[in-house]
């Protein structure tokens, strides 16, 4: 069987790489937390990364919005943002079609009708955390995009169960296959609303403390209204909840949390050492 050798989650605000200097010492502390996860990747040497992130109207618009879409292609392309702005060169990030299709098939068997795409455009959401964790972008990545941007959105409980499904598929994989599971996005932030720039520190701390106590299933019971206390951008914590399902509520370790107003995001990162 395969095994999850590492799990992690991190915010993916474009300012993290786009304009890191504006965050000053907060930014430096955040980068140090990301570097801890990078080192863990170096030690764990995963063969493949399953990355749960949300769509940002890059691949899909409201005329065709899947709740969940997995990238099954030989590669996916990103970031779509200009290098001059995001400071990450565009590249073909390798995929893992055989593994990704195994997830799709098992999902169908389990009652999850995942959408799939053989060529996804990646954006800051997937690429910013990868830039820190695997700077060479040479480890195959299976992206799973979530609709957490347009109502109605999949329930957090559904995301938790998706994570459990992913762990079940990993258990069926060839012996010795080493898998990293990561989730990106959040934590509190307001996107394109009058409150843009606001950060709910209490919300973020409550969320991170629950992760440190291994209470992912309880977080998955948060209502949309509760999640909304962290702004419309907080709905991206669905991506982290899937990771918590995959690691069966193992206790996470917060490597950094900084409420960075300049990045308009409560910016955090967590690692699960398994």
């Amino acid at each position: 069987m395969g095994e999850i050798v590492l799990a992690a989650a991190a915010s993916h605000a474009p300012g993290i790489t786009g304009y890191p200097d504006r965050a000053g010492e907060q930014g430096s502390r955040f980068m140090a937390g990301m570097e801890q996860i990078h080192q863990a990747f170096e030690e764990a040497q995963p063969d493949v990364i399953i990355e749960i992130c949300n769509e940002h109207f890059v691949n899909f618009h409201v005329n065709n919005m899947p709740a969940l879409c997995i990238g099954t292609g030989e590669y996916n392309v990103g970031p779509m943002e200009p290098e001059a702005w995001l400071h990450i060169p565009r590249t073909n990030v390798p995929g893992h079609p055989e593994f990704a299709n195994a997830i799709v098939k098992e999902a169908y068997n389990a009652g999850f009708d995942l959408s799939f795409s053989e060529r996804l455009l990646l954006d800051h959401g997937t690429v910013v955390p990868l830039h820190f964790f695997t700077p060479n972008m040479d480890i195959p990545v299976i992206p799973i995009l979530v609709n957490s941007i347009a109502e109605p959105m999949p329930l957090p409980q559904r995301m938790y169960r998706l994570g459990k499904l992913i762990s079940q598929v990993i258990a069926t994989r060839p012996k010795g296959e080493r898998v990293a599971v990561i989730g990106t996005g959040g934590i509190s932030h307001w996107v394109g609303t009058p409150e843009m720039g606001r950060i709910n520190v209490d919300f973020d701390e409550r969320f991170l403390e629950s992760i440190e106590r291994g209470q992912g299933e309880a977080i998955a019971d948060w209502t949309p209204e509760q999640i909304g206390q962290g702004g419309n951008g907080a709905h991206e914590i669905r991506n982290w909840i899937a990771v918590m399902g995959a690691v069966a509520d193992a206790k996470g370790e917060v490597t950094t949390y900084e409420p960075v107003v300049e990045w308009v995001t409560g910016s955090g990162a967590v690692i699960w050492k398994l």
Binding site: H56, F57, V58, H61, V62, N63, M80, I149, A150, E151, W190, V191, G192, T193, P194, E195, M196, G197, R198, I199, N200, V201, D202, F203, P224, E225, I227, G228, Q229, G231, N232, P259, V261
Partner: protein
Amino acid sequence: MSHVEVGQLVFDSRHDPGLEEAWRADPDAVMERYGFTDEEREAIRAKNIQFFYELGVNPYLIGRVGQLMGLGQTEVRAALADAAPHPLLPTVWFPGPARNGDYLIRQNG
């Protein structure tokens, strides 16, 4: 015409550099192609981002609508300060004094 078509223009402009060039050269022609109403065309000309927010354009696309109008993030935020609640955001948003510089919420202290 609705938030769907406005959003579609934004979505398309991300993928088609030619569309953005066409917008810069002749926005009226592009608005004609996408079926903008007279009221929406006037809102574009007036850089009235609040109008499109209240129309229901997804907040994740509002910044890009502002870019097409030539507005930066700070200008968009300022322009939305007095906006009515977004029609498609049913969840709670803690409206309050962020616009006055109080960016960090600490409900417990």
